[in-house]
Structure formats: C-alpha cells, structure tokens
C-alpha cells in the first residue's frame, strides 16, 4: 500500500473514530491518535523518505488537508458534546416556575393618609403651603379667635375635651387658621394654606362617630378673593376626589368663623342621584363645609377686614375615606386590623 492509499484509509478510519467519540475524554484520545505529536498523520510525515521526491510535495499537501479536516471535525464534535452536556445540566436544573414566591412583608399607607397625601399634592400644586398646628390647643385659638362666643355650644364640656379652663384637645383644625393669619406678612404675598391634623370631640365611638378623627383646613386670604373662587376650589376638590362626573351643589350653612357659610354636596356616587340608602334617598352626599372668612376672624388676628378677605374650607378626611372607599364603620380606621389596612396597598398614587 502506498502512502496515498494509506491516507485514504486513514481519512475513512479517522472520520469514523471522531464520529464514535461521544464524550470529551474519548474525543481527546482520538485527537491524540490522529493529529497528536505521535499520531497517525505525524507518522505518515515521518515516513516521507520512502516517497519519491517528486511526490513528496503532494503527500505533504494531502497530509495537511487531512489534518485540517480532522481538526475541523474534532472541534465540531467537541462543540456538540459540550452543548449536549450543557443541555443535560439545564435539564437537571429545571424548576417549577408555577410554585409561589417567598413573600416578606409589603408596607402600606393608612387609608386616611392616602386621602390626605392626595389632597396635599393637589393643593401644593396650586401653591398652598401645608401647615400643622398643635393638637393640644387653647380655647383662645380654637374658639375665641374663630368667632365662637363664650357660650357657644361647641365650647361645652359636653362637646370638647378640656384639660383645664384654657387648654383643650382641639375640636377643629380651624385654630391653625388663626395662628397662620396672625403671622402672615401680606406684604410678601397672599396667604394660601392647608392645615391637616387630628381633632377630638367628646363623642362616644360608634359606626358613625369617633372621638378622634382627621380634618384638613384650607385658607386663602388676599385683597381679591371671591366666593366664586371658593366655589371653583370646592368643585375641584370634589371632582378630584370623587370623580369628574360628579355633580355638586352649594347649600347655605352656618359656621361661626365664616360668613356666608356653605356646605357642599356631591351627587351620590352609589345611585347617581336617584336616591338610595347611602344618600338617605336625597341623591346628594354632604362632603364639606366652607365659607368666606368672617370679618371678626380676620380682625381678631390683626388683619384689616376692609382690605383683606378670603375663603376657608374644612374637609373631614375620615368622611372622605369612608365615602371614597365605601367604608361603613369609622372605627375600622382606628382598630388597625391588618386585614382591613392591607387592602389599601394598591391605592397610593
């Protein structure tokens, strides 16, 4: 057999062996056998002296071609083997992606703060400052400055938690109005504030009463503030919180610290004004009280009521939350049942 025949045979055998190698180790053995330093191709090169000189060039060329072929096949097979290995490993690592994840704890805002944060954002956007005052207030700020005369029913021991004759737990956030009015320098611009906070009343707790709840007070005072401005502002609050499709109405009302005083109703979102138990068959739900700041309130705080005027409004945050989220017992806000609180997680904006 001459060298050419040998090469033909080696080519056939070699390719068959490469094909038979199914793991990396065997393939390496084949690689050493075929293209290694002491492998078959090397052997052929070493026996070159037996070849006629004029043929040597051709043999060399053939050998190189065959080496390239083997290397190519060896590399290809190696890649296949590795791929198969990787595939096997992935199979072994398969998990059930439908099993549940491991949960920790998800934080949440209290529903009343959801309402408050939303309103604060609305008013901050319109240039209102958020102001907070003390909860242990004086009779002076809560009542006297707010034009509630000495024998006004709200000042009764029956209605308000008194600490002593002068100090009390504020029954309304309006005291913040007086404090801000006293301090505000109108030379530096108009006064626009909202004042949220806790208030307290001497009520026994039941489904609709709570001795503690939250209010937000609003106050705008400058030289040209009108009842039309108040109406526009109240309608914006109502539509922002309860939906743009709500109808609103203003009714005359009475608060000692505003004159004129109004209350705002929105069309019942349960029955859309047709009448249902939620709106007590009136089609309307009362949502807030407001009015034009009473001249006495301005004068009490040292503001000239012949020059300055404005509007004030008060929002019951618990009431808003009750209406917006359909809560039927105000105590639910204060018992802190995690099953109740947890349902509001998705509400934050």
């Amino acid at each position: 057999m001459d060298l050419f025949d040998k090469l033909v045979e080696l080519r056939k055998d070699g390719l068959a062996k490469i094909k038979e190698a199914t793991d990396e180790k065997k393939l390496n053995e084949v690689r050493v056998e075929l293209v290694g330093k002491k492998g078959e191709l090397t052997k052929i090169l070493h026996s070159m002296k037996e070849v006629a000189p004029d043929k040597r060039r051709e043999v060399g060329q053939r050998v190189n071609e065959l080496r390239d072929l083997f290397n190519e096949q060896l590399d290809g097979t190696k890649e296949e083997i590795l791929k198969a290995l990787a595939q096997k490993k992935l199979e072994e690592e398969r998990i059930d992606v439908t099993l549940p994840g491991k949960r920790g704890h998800v934080g949440s805002k209290h529903p009343i703060y959801l309402i408050l944060d939303d309103l604060e954002a609305l008013f901050i956007g319109m240039g209102y400052q958020v102001v907070q005052g003390p909860e242990i207030e004086t009779d002076h700020y809560v009542f006297e400055m707010m034009n509630l005369p000495k024998d006004h029913p709200a000042r009764d021991m029956q209605e308000t938690f008194y600490i002593d004759s002068e100090n009390l737990l504020r029954s309304q956030t309006s005291g913040d109005q007086a404090r801000v009015l006293e301090k505000h320098d109108f030379a530096k611009g108009p006064l626009k504030m909202v004042g949220p906070g806790k208030v307290y009343r001497r009520d026994d707790d039941d489904a609709t009463h709570s001795h503690q709840f939250m209010q937000m007070e609003g106050l705008v005072v400058d030289k040209h503030v009108t009842m039309g401005d108040l109406k526009g502002t109240l309608e914006m609050i109502a539509k922002h919180v309860f939906g743009a499709d709500r109808a609103t109405r203003l009714r005359p009302s009475y608060f000692p610290f505003t004159e004129p005083s109004v209350e705002m109703d929105v069309s019942c979102f349960n029955c859309d004004g047709k009448g249902c138990p939620i709106c007590k068959y009136t089609g309307w739900i009362e949502v807030l009280g407001a009015g034009m700041v009473h001249p006495n309130v301005l004068e009490n705080a040292g503001v000239d009521s012949s020059v300055y005027g404005g509007f004030a409004f008060g929002v019951g945050l618990d009431r808003f939350a009750i209406l917006k989220y359909g809560v039927d017992d105000i105590r639910d806000f204060y018992t802190n049942d995690v099953r109740f609180l947890g349902q509001f997680r998705k509400e934050d904006k």
Binding site: E120, M126, P153, I163, P190, H211, P260, N336
Partner: protein, 803 residues
C-alpha cells in the same frame, strides 16, 4: 322643624310648584330640607267607618262590629281594640287595603267569625306613637263626634295625611324658621312670592286684672315676660284641624289649652306655657334662679334636682315650672281647670340650653329658646292664643297683658355698599337687583349710589354685619348662578415645611421596609401612657374623660400598636409589621408639649409561610437591622445602643438608642410580664422600637457631595478572639477601631460563639476587617502591622486571647 306644606300654602302661593322641586330650591337657597314625607304614601283603601253595632264575643277580648263604611253592604268586622264601641267614627281598612309597613288587609275569619276588614289605630296607618293622643295609643282611633267626616270617605284629608311634611334641618343661626311665619317669610323670599302674615285683632271681654297681680322677674334671666289671664275655660280635646297640624309637626295633642300653646308656638316660634290659675293663689309670680338641690317634678312626671343655674318660674315662693324647658306637675292644666294664666317670654338662651342638657330634657320649647326667639312677636302670640282659647275653649279673655319684663332691643340697621357685596361674591349684581332681593326678604332697603342701608326686622336676629347681607344676597341670587373661578393671586410656592418633609421621608422608608401604617387613639389610660418611655412626664389629662381607658394623652405610640397587636392576635392574624407616625403629648412646667414619634412593632416571621420552610422568626437583631437601614437611609451616623431597663420592655433584651449622648428612643422586646397578662398577647414574642423624631430630625441630613468610587484595591483580614463574656461587641469594636490605623474602612462581626468547646465565662468573637488606602495600593506589610497593633491592644486592654 317639621313644616306642613298645606299650612304653608295659607301664607304663600306655592300651588304651582312641584313639592320636591320646592324642597330642592329651599335646600339650595335657605335651609336644608332633610326629608319630604307624604304620610299617605303607600296606603290604600283606608276609609271612614261608622260603627253601628258592637257586641262582645264571649270568652275573648274581641268585639264583633257592624260598620257602615260607605259600601253597598254594611261590613262585619272583628275588632280587638278595647275602645271600640257603637256610635264611633273610625278608620276602616277595607278588603284589599294597604296599611303601614306595606301590610295588606284581606277579608278572613277570626275565631271562625267573618271579618271584612280592619278597624285601625293611628300607629297602624303609619303614625309615630309619640304623636298619637294618649287615649288612642292602646286602641283604635276614634274621630271626634263633630268631625266633618262621612262613612266611605278616604281618611287622609281629615287626618292631615294628604299633606307633605318638610323637615327643615336648620343650622343654629336660622332658628327664625322654627315657626310657620318664619318658614313662610323664607319660602316666600325663595320663590319670590308675597307672604300673607296677618296681625291679630282681639277684643278682650273680661275684667282688668294686671293691677291685682304682682311679678318679680330677674330681667337678666327673662328680659321679656308677658302673662295673660283667662277664665271660664272648658278643657276638652282640641278640634281635629288643630290636632292634625300638631301631629304633622311631631307634637302630640293633649287638650285644647295645651294644644293652643303648642299651636301658637308653631305659628309664631314663641314657646308658651299655660298654668292652672289655682297655682298662683297669692296672685304673684316670680322668675329666679333655682336653689341648688331643690326637688322638682316636671309635668312629664320626671323628678329632678334643680341646679343653681336653672331658671325657674315660681308662685312667689316655690318653683312651678323649669323656665323655657317644661312646666311643673304642680301647675299643670287639669280636666277641671277653668282659669288659666298664659306665659310667653324670652329666657337666657345659654341657661336654657344648659338646663335642658343637665336634666336630659330637651323640648320643643328649650330648643327654640336656646337658639333665640323673635322679641317682637310676644304680644301677637298672646293675642293669637287668646283668640283660639275663646273660640275653642270658651275662654273669657281678661283685659290687659301683664308685661312683667319688657326690655327692648335696638333695631338692627346694616350699612354697606353694593360694591362690597359684589366684591366678596365675585358677582356684578346691580343695585336694582339687590333691592329686589331685599324686597323678597321683606327687608326695608335704601340705596344711595353705591351706599346701601338695610333695616333688619327683629324676626331675623341672626343678621348684624355687612357680611350677613352678603349671604342674604348671595343665597337668593343663587349660589348656582355664581361663576366658578380660581383665585387669581400673586404666585405662591406650595410645599411642606422642612419638618414635615423630614417626617414624610421617614414614613416612606419604613413603608418601603414592609411596615403597614396604623393610626391609634391619642387618648389612653395613665398606665399605658407611661409605658415604653425612659422617664414619664406629667400628663395632659382630660377633665371629663368619656371613660378611664381614654383619660390622658399618650406619651408613647407603642401602646397603641400593642393594642392593635392584641386585636389582630385575637383574630389569628399573627404576622405583624406595623408602624405609626404620630405625636406624643406631655406637660412640663405648665406648658404642653407635642413630640413627633415613630414606633414600629414586629411579630411573627420574616417571611410568610412558604413551601421552602424558611421560617425564621423576627428577633431583636432583625428589628435592629431594619432600624440601622432606616438610619443609613436618613444619613444618620454614630448611633449607639445601650442595654437599658425601660418600663414595659424585656429587662435584658432592650436598648436605649443614643445619638451624641442624646436619648433618641429604644428598641427591644415587649416584656414577657406584659404579654403574659394579656390573654391574646400571651405566647407571642413582640419586638418594637420607638424613636423621637424631633430629636432624630436634628441629625437627619440631606445634600450629598459625591465622592468617586474607590480606585485602589482593599485588603481583608479575619480576626478571631476569645474574651470574657461580660464584654460587649461595642467594647471590642472600640479597641479595634482605636488601634487599626487610618486604613480600616469596614469592621464586621462575622461570628459569635459561646458554649461547648469554649471555657465557661468566655465567648468567641470573629471579625472581618477591610483596609484600604484611597490614594495608593495598600501593601500586606502595612495591614499586617495594623493587625498586630490591634491584637496587642486587645490582649492588653481586654485580656483577649487571639485565636
């Protein structure tokens, strides 16, 4: 005030208006109409019947009656009422009738006897028992013998049930509408129709009496006090037309004399009171403050003990009425009363309100006096009552009114300008238009250019200043007609205060850590108020608490969260990650202080139940880790923890938290002694922290000056030592830090061991130290030298063994 639509029609022409539209209009313009009731709504086939025969059914309480109900045949009806009798005109529910509550009446048999309908009591056709005349409460209703009703007629008109009853839900300033006249003025103004209120013309027919009667009136208590005298009265039921007006207004008819006082009150708004003349044997009357402890029986039979702030009417010596609230049993109109004194007065509103509250006895009268009454209407009320007493009770009207107190009020005149009213409302209402509005209100107004003067009648005592006129003009112009605008003012910058911004940052971090926000009550018990604080301060204590568990303001938030834990545990909700951000309250040197706090409560597991069985429970170090993360997020460094005893907290698992030596709060486990005492808390390990955010906020920093990430590699070394177990990690870390040189950038505990394999009284601690030079590559030899220095110091200062 329940206002009858039919009665109102006598004063204002409102026939052309739909009742519900009218109610809506009144609500939007004047007084909220909370409800419009139509008593006959839902009722059917209720007719007048005449009982022709009535025989007792033996062995029962029943009667078999034969009733003429205007049908083709007389109806046999079985009736169980005790007061059924032949010759009565009654209410009959025919076969197929519908009575109150939607009940249907069908013919049927009772005890085997055929009954073709039902004879009804007033409650059965929808009357509230409180307005049913007492003789008919326990039986059927019987029409007065002279009632103009015929068998077979519907009963609705005769009983006033075809009326519409408007519930005027007044605000305290609009007590002027607590009368038909006041309501009529208001409705007339709203619908822009004239109001017919006529004066009373009375001719007295009795003898003069006022000179022989003396009155001693404390005019501070009763600035106005009028009395009239009547004789020859026959006490009997009042006519049906008056009774229907009373019960439609929510008042029970009693007898003609009492009913007339109530009727005149409904008409004029002035409560009146009738005394049996035998009460004033000495011909004298007094109005004074009661003596404390004086016993008195009201005509409702209620026995009360008078207070020194109660106003009483006396017969010269003893009380005969609790003024403005209710008469006394000792002066009540009796069936045989013939002579009567009739009082109308004005009493101090505050004292009346307080008396009604004090004796839990609010009445139609007291609710009017406490809001004010029309000072100008007393004489009219007396004369109207006199007319009615003559017509309905056969009274002779003695000549003259005893005006025992008769202070006058200055008429109210308000001056303002058209432009002021428009400026406040944001409108452009012309002077003419405003004039028309005041005309509608029946106010005399005078315009001179922009100037405007309004004479306010006494019936509108709520009006005093220009702003009050703004309201009158605004509401009658119509709030619906005012254009909605936004304030056009100089620009202002909205936002939170710096303090509020910091609080909000804290809240958002802990929410992000998985804590659920709670709100608890600020009022609590003294014991709870003082728990969980390093040092309790003086309390903000309520004078008249609703109950002892809510009597002082909290000095910590944790007690509220613990209540929440108890509530949730009782409902098998054991996984609690709660926080509250709110205030605590105390008193120091006579001043009240409020402090913003944050409290967090943890109980249960780090992870929810999971199939991988990773069920690590929350412990001190988990909670401390959360707190450390909070401090990192707030840019707060140098916090130290000192084992400390704090009331309500576990004695050996609690630390005070300090910043720059200042007490910031505490962290630890709720004391087992505390959880053991509470059935629902028992067996739960609860960890918590509470921070004073007022202190914390001083250290809360914002504003970052960026530093590039380190460019040179760090070298890490581990150090393992054995020390006495009374040394704390902090002791060891202190020595390490002091001796590590300037390249130590991080020091971390990586192991703590105590127990087997270690001699008792010792513990093994292992640390990982990271060194780095920010300006050069650090060499091993520098780090090795630092480690040597540290080891030597630990040996020398803490007697440590280096392992």
């Amino acid at each position: 005030m329940l206002v009858s639509y039919n009665w109102l029609k006598e004063f204002v022409d409102i026939d052309d208006l739909d009742v519900n539209d009218l109610a809506e209009k009144i609500t939007r313009t004047g007084v909220e109409i909370a409800d419009v009731a139509h008593p006959m709504a839902g009722l059917k086939k209720l007719v007048v019947g005449y009982v022709e025969e009535c025989v007792a059914i033996e062995g029962t309480h029943l009667h078999k009656t034969l009733v003429d109900a205007g049908q083709d045949e007389k109806l046999q009806i079985v009736c169980g009422a005790p007061n059924v009798a032949a010759g009565e005109k009654v209410i009959v529910a025919l076969h197929g009738a519908r009575i109150a509550g939607g009940h249907k009446i069908k013919r049927g048999k009772i005890r085997g006897i055929e009954s073709n309908g039902m004879i009804c009591g007033l409650q059965e056709i929808g009357f509230n028992e409180s307005v049913v005349p007492s003789e008919f409460v326990d039986g059927i209703y019987v029409f007065p013998a002279d009632a103009d009703v015929k068998p077979g007629e519907d009963v609705y008109e005769a009983l006033g049930m075809d009326d519409y009853i408007f519930d005027f839900d007044i605000t305290p300033n609009r007590a002027d509408t607590l009368s038909m006249e006041g309501a009529a003025y208001e409705v007339g103004a709203i619908v822009d129709k004239p109001v017919k209120i006529e004066p009373v013309v009375l001719k007295e027919d009795g003898a003069a009496w006022t000179d022989s009667f003396s009155a001693e009136i404390d005019q501070k208590l009763a600035p106005k006090y009028y009395l009239r005298k009547f004789s020859g009265i026959t006490v009997k039921p009042s006519p049906l037309w008056m009774q229907t007006r009373l019960w439609n207004a929510g008042i029970r008819p009693i007898n003609n004399v009492v009913d007339i006082t109530n009727y005149v009150m409904l008409l004029t708004g002035l409560p009146m009171h009738a005394y049996d003349a035998r009460t004033f044997k000495d011909h004298q009357i007094g109005v004074r403050l009661a003596e404390k402890g004086e016993k008195f029986t009201l005509l409702s039979d209620k026995k009360i003990e008078l207070d020194a702030q109660d106003i009483v009417i006396t017969d010269g010596t003893k009380p005969v009425a609790l003024a403005g609230v209710m008469g006394g049993l000792n002066s009540e109109i009796q069936p045989d009363t013939t002579d009567v004194y009739l009082e109308v007065g004005v009493f101090d509103p505050t004292l009346i309100r307080k008396a009604a509250l004090r004796h839990a006895n609010r009445t139609e009268a007291s609710s009017r006096f406490e809001k004010g009454v029309n000072w100008d209407n007393l004489e009219k009320a007396e004369n109207m009552a006199a007319l009615l007493l003559r017509n309905e009770a056969g009274a002779t009207v003695a000549q003259g009114i005893l005006k025992a107190a008769d202070q006058q009020k200055e008429p109210t005149v308000i001056k303002t300008t058209v432009s002021y009213i428009n400026k406040v409302l944001g409108t452009e209402i012309s002077a003419d238009e405003m004039k028309r509005i005041f005309d509608r209100l029946n106010f005399e107004s005078n315009f001179a250019g922009d100037e405007l003067t309004v004479n306010v009648p006494a019936r509108r005592w709520d009006l005093a200043i220009p702003a009050d006129l703004v309201e009158e003009v605004g509401r009658l112009y119509g709030y619906d007609n005012i254009k909605s605008t936004q304030p056009l003012l100089a620009e202002t910058h909205g936002g939170y205060s710096e303090a509020e911004t910091k609080l909000r940052r804290v809240k958002s971090i802990v929410q992000g850590q998985g804590l659920m926000e709670a709100i608890s009550y600020s009022l609590t018990s003294p014991e709870k108020a003082h728990a969980f604080v390093k040092e309790a301060k003086a309390d903000a204590k309520i004078k008249m608490p609703l109950n002892s568990s809510r009597s002082v303001m909290r000095q910590n938030l944790l007690e509220g969260l613990l209540d929440a834990a108890s509530y949730n545990f009782a409902r098998k909700e054991n996984e609690l990650f709660l926080f509250e951000q709110g205030r605590t309250y105390d008193r120091e040197g006579g001043e009240f202080h409020e402090h913003e706090h944050l409290a967090a409560l943890y109980s249960g597991h780090v992870y929810a139940d999971n199939w991988q069985h990773e069920d690590r429970e929350v412990d001190f170090y988990f909670v401390k880790g959360q707190l450390e993360e909070l401090f990192i997020s707030l840019g707060i460094k140098g916090v130290s923890y000192r084992a400390e005893a704090i009331s309500g907290m576990h004695l050996t698992r609690t630390a005070g938290i300090y910043l720059d030596g200042e007490y910031l709060g505490m962290i630890g486990m709720i004391a087992p002694s505390l959880t053991f005492l509470d059935k629902t808390l028992r067996g739960h390990e609860i960890y918590a922290y509470e921070l004073d955010l007022d202190v914390l906020s001083k250290y809360q920093t914002q504003g970052t000056k960026a530093v590039p990430a380190p460019k040179f590699p760090a070298i890490e070394r581990d150090l393992s030592i054995l020390v006495s177990d009374n040394l704390t990690n902090e002791d060891v870390e202190k020595v390490i830090r002091e001796n590590a040189g300037k390249y130590l950038t991080k020091l971390q505990v990586i192991d703590v061991y105590q127990g087997e394999h270690i001699e008792s009284g010792k513990k093994s601690l292992a640390y990982n130290l990271t060194f780095r030079n920010d300006h050069d590559t650090l060499t091993d030899s520098v780090v090795s030298k630092a480690m040597e220095t540290i080891s030597e110091a630990l040996i020398a200062k803490l007697g440590a063994n280096i392992r």
